[in-house]
Symmetry: C2
Subunit: 252 residues, 2 copies
């Protein structure tokens, strides 16, 4: 399938009766396994990809290695793949667009956390400007704009978090994002309020404590991803097999 076609299909999947379920992969084998299970599209999770390459998350891996890993994933399957591009690795938006296209990315995550001097929330206007420039650089790329105000420690004030999230989400959608992703929200009523007040598709990170996938659909969530959760589940199994072998038992 041509990349343009993959992008058009991925974009259309944000407007379905049920949420778009995008399981997150980290390498070619995980991508093939998930595509083989019948998913029409996949996403990568930067944390899991970095872990697989031997780096910490948070743009600690060289961008070249992350894009090479992205390319290995997209080449291994014929479904659209959204690549987690973190905060864009300090690349200018047109260069980021080129690198994502070269890596075969149908879409991308772009987060409003800066990594230059510790992790901090990006200024919302400059982040909206980056998203607008990325949209200008590539009209087809499906952009999922992360809103990081609910990430532990990012929003210093006691109040105003929901308002800030809605303001950012609207600004990013106005700038050309296809979907917004307030990561780290598990509370059902807060999720409902976000979906109600954000005038565009909302991505939810599924993790233990989140409402069920069925309930997320009832709340109007457009898209569900799993971050590094599936990778962690496989490593947890591997750790269990390791313990069995180490203690003299048989693994299978």
């Amino acid at each position: 399938m041509e990349l343009s076609e993959k992008r058009a299909r991925l974009r259309a999947m944000h407007d379905q009766d049920r949420p778009l379920i995008l399981p997150n992969v980290w390498d070619a084998a995980s991508a093939r396994t998930l595509a083989g299970a019948g998913f029409a599209a996949l996403a990568s999770a930067s944390h899991a990809v970095a872990d697989s390459l031997g780096y910490e998350d948070g743009e600690k891996a060289p961008a070249g290695e992350m894009f090479a890993a992205a390319g290995r994933i997209t080449r291994s399957v014929d479904v659209p793949v959204s690549i987690d591009a973190e905060a864009g690795y300090g690349l200018a938006p047109d260069e980021l667009a080129d690198r994502l296209r070269e890596a075969g990315a149908a879409g991308c995550n772009i987060e409003d956390t800066t990594h230059a001097n510790g992790m901090a929330l990006a200024d919302p206007e400059s982040q909206a400007g980056r998203i607008a420039a990325l949209r200008d650089a590539d009209r087809e790329l499906v952009i999922n704009a992360r809103v990081d105000v609910f990430v532990e420690g990012r929003w210093p004030a006691a109040d105003g978090r929901l308002e800030e999230a809605v303001t950012r989400a609207r600004a990013y959608l106005d700038a050309g994002a296809d979907c917004v992703y307030p990561i780290g929200v598990t509370d059902e009523s807060l999720l409902g309020e976000l979906v109600a007040r954000i005038p565009g598709p909302v991505n939810v990170l599924y993790r233990p404590g989140t409402p069920s996938l069925a309930r997320l659909g009832e709340l109007g969530v457009a898209r569900v991803t799993f971050g590094p959760g599936l990778h962690r589940a496989t490593l947890s199994l591997l750790g269990g097999l390791a313990a069995k072998i180490r203690d003299g038992g048989d693994p299978y």
Copy 2:
């Protein structure tokens, strides 16, 4: 730990009361998980590494990508790692030794299957010559010489397989191999005969149907590896999680 020290330690582990158990990894995250479980050394499995990179096994992945993956594995842990170098990717023995050293390999597997025109058994004398040249090129590298006569389809005759395996094993040990690896044997009496007749450490591939790890120890097996088995177990779990999510259920 310096590479020389890792190699000396890995070599010494072939002469213990109990078999050296080397679980096979495919990337940095799996290596960290296994090292974290307390294993004193690890091995890679070319099939699993190639799968993770998006290639078929059997030297179908570019050698550069396989060595890069090996380097990511060895850099991620501080224990000795034996790298599965397949049949050596057509490299001259001194170049293969250099590439393994650069990748941080404490040891390697080298198989007597040729990949040039379909998969076939290498001539035993020329294979012994390659092992001798690899030994000359690097006195420290821990060489695990695979004997592939038990691989399905490799040995065309009805008889003579055991004799051929013993002859090859002796020749490879004489050439400087530290351990020999008659892959694909699960039968207990055949394993016992191989161990009894091969005058050096024997590596066994553990898989369903193989005697238990405890029994392999009683048989005098020096080293046990798992090939791509642990990777497959994680992909099997991932496939199960994928099916749950696909059918509307919750994964965790």
